[in-house]
């Protein structure tokens, strides 16, 4: 008797409270189908088993309550919780799957980065080889002195030590070559013809060699890698008798070390 009254009272209360609740059967069905989907997804089961279990428990509770008359509000509530757990399980799964994908992609990225670095290195080496050929074409090998490049008379005005702009191309090649071969060092040697006094010639030859060295330093070559010498009218390459011979003798020579930095002895 008491029970019945209480039950009736409860039911009417619940009914009153639940008048605005959505249809509990529909919600229950929806929750059931959501749960079914996560339950059948092996990834979800692997990654978020706890959420799946909670979704199942809430669903079972909603299901049980639905057989009691007048408990519509509770059914909707637990069905809602079950749906939320299913959704959370899916999100957690997606998150972990994304992390797994990211880990794979990260490996791929590192692999590609390495490959790119190697490709670039190779191209630099090829470039270095090309430059080396270029430099070689501008130099002559003298067995006792190593690689020697001659900057001719035309790169300086008569009696002047300033390097003309026409030397830029050659100078840039030398800079690039030295940058690609960081162990190599150079000795820059200045020479004049026999016109003029010995002291003047020594000074002019040294100033011209220094002018070339300055440009190299300005373009980023460490001055420690550069020696400068002035030899005046010593060591002519041609007889000073003709104008042509004198022009050949007015020159700056750049002596390259080997690739270990060993430079032939100065004259």
């Amino acid at each position: 008797m008491n029970r019945l009254t209480c039950g009736l009272l409860l039911s009417s209360l619940v009914l009153a409270g639940c008048a605005s609740q959505p249809n509990s059967d529909t919600v229950l069905q929806q929750a059931g189908s959501d749960f079914q989907k996560v339950k059948e997804d092996s990834n979800v089961l692997r990654i978020a088993p706890k959420d799946v279990i909670r979704a199942g428990e809430s669903l079972a509770r909603a299901d049980r309550l639905s057989s009691y008359w007048g408990s519509g509000g509770d059914v909707v509530h637990y069905a809602y919780l079950s749906q939320r757990y299913s959704a959370i399980a899916r999100e957690h799964t997606e998150l972990v799957l994304n992390e797994e994908r990211a880990a794979k992609l990260e490996l791929e990225r590192q692999r590609l980065q390495l490959a790119l670095r190697e490709a670039k290195l190779l191209s630099v080496q090829q470039q270095g080889k090309w430059l080396e050929e270029q430099i070689a074409s501008l130099t002559t090998t003298q067995t006792d002195r190593g690689l020697v490049m001659t900057l001719g008379d035309v790169l300086f005005d008569t009696g002047q030590a300033e390097l003309k702009n026409s030397a830029n191309r050659t100078v840039l090649k030398i800079v690039q070559f030295l940058q690609l071969n960081p162990k190599r060092v150079v000795r820059i040697e200045g020479y004049t013809d026999s016109t003029g006094g010995e002291q003047e010639n020594l000074k002019l030859s040294r100033d011209r060699a220094q002018a070339v060295a300055d440009v190299l330093v300005d373009l980023g070559i460490d001055e420690k890698r550069i020696q400068v010498e002035g030899y005046g009218d010593q060591y002519p390459v041609e007889a000073n008798a003709s104008e042509r011979g004198r022009a050949q003798n007015r020159r700056v020579e750049i002596v390259f070390s080997d690739d270990k930095g060993q430079l032939g002895a100065a004259r």
Binding site: A87, E91, N98, S123
Partner: protein
């Protein structure tokens, strides 16, 4: 005369049976925590509808607590907790998706550069 105590007993039993819900203090705390956690990972109510729901329901639960409607308070709080947890999970998934996109972009760029280099 005998009928009055019966009514009294009935009333007591009814009250006891119907007001069985204690104050859901622990649930309120859990819900509060879940909302804070969602905010901590960067969820904003304007962007994540689930968080908006959670906030509304938590406010309702607090009002229910004040009214001593403990059952309503508990239900609202329980739903709010899961709304907040879902909001948090969505934000984290979104972030991981963005990270994937960044990685994919970088890989595409690397592949292109590799193609150019060869």
């Amino acid at each position: 005369m005998t009928i009055r105590p019966l009514f009294a007993a009935l009333a007591v039993v009814t009250l006891a049976g119907c007001a069985a819900d204690p104050a859901p203090n622990e649930q309120m705390r859990l819900t509060q925590q879940a909302l804070e956690q969602a905010a901590a990972v960067g969820a904003v109510a304007d962007d994540v509808p689930e968080l908006k729901l959670a906030e509304t329901k938590l406010a309702q639960a607090k009002a229910d607590m004040a009214d001593e409607s403990y059952k309503d308070a508990r239900m609202q709080a329980e739903q709010a907790e899961l709304d907040a947890r879902l909001a948090e999970a969505r934000v984290l998934t979104q972030k991981s998706q963005e990270q994937l996109n960044v990685l994919n972009t970088r890989i595409t760029r690397l592949r292109k550069q590799l193609g150019d280099a060869q």
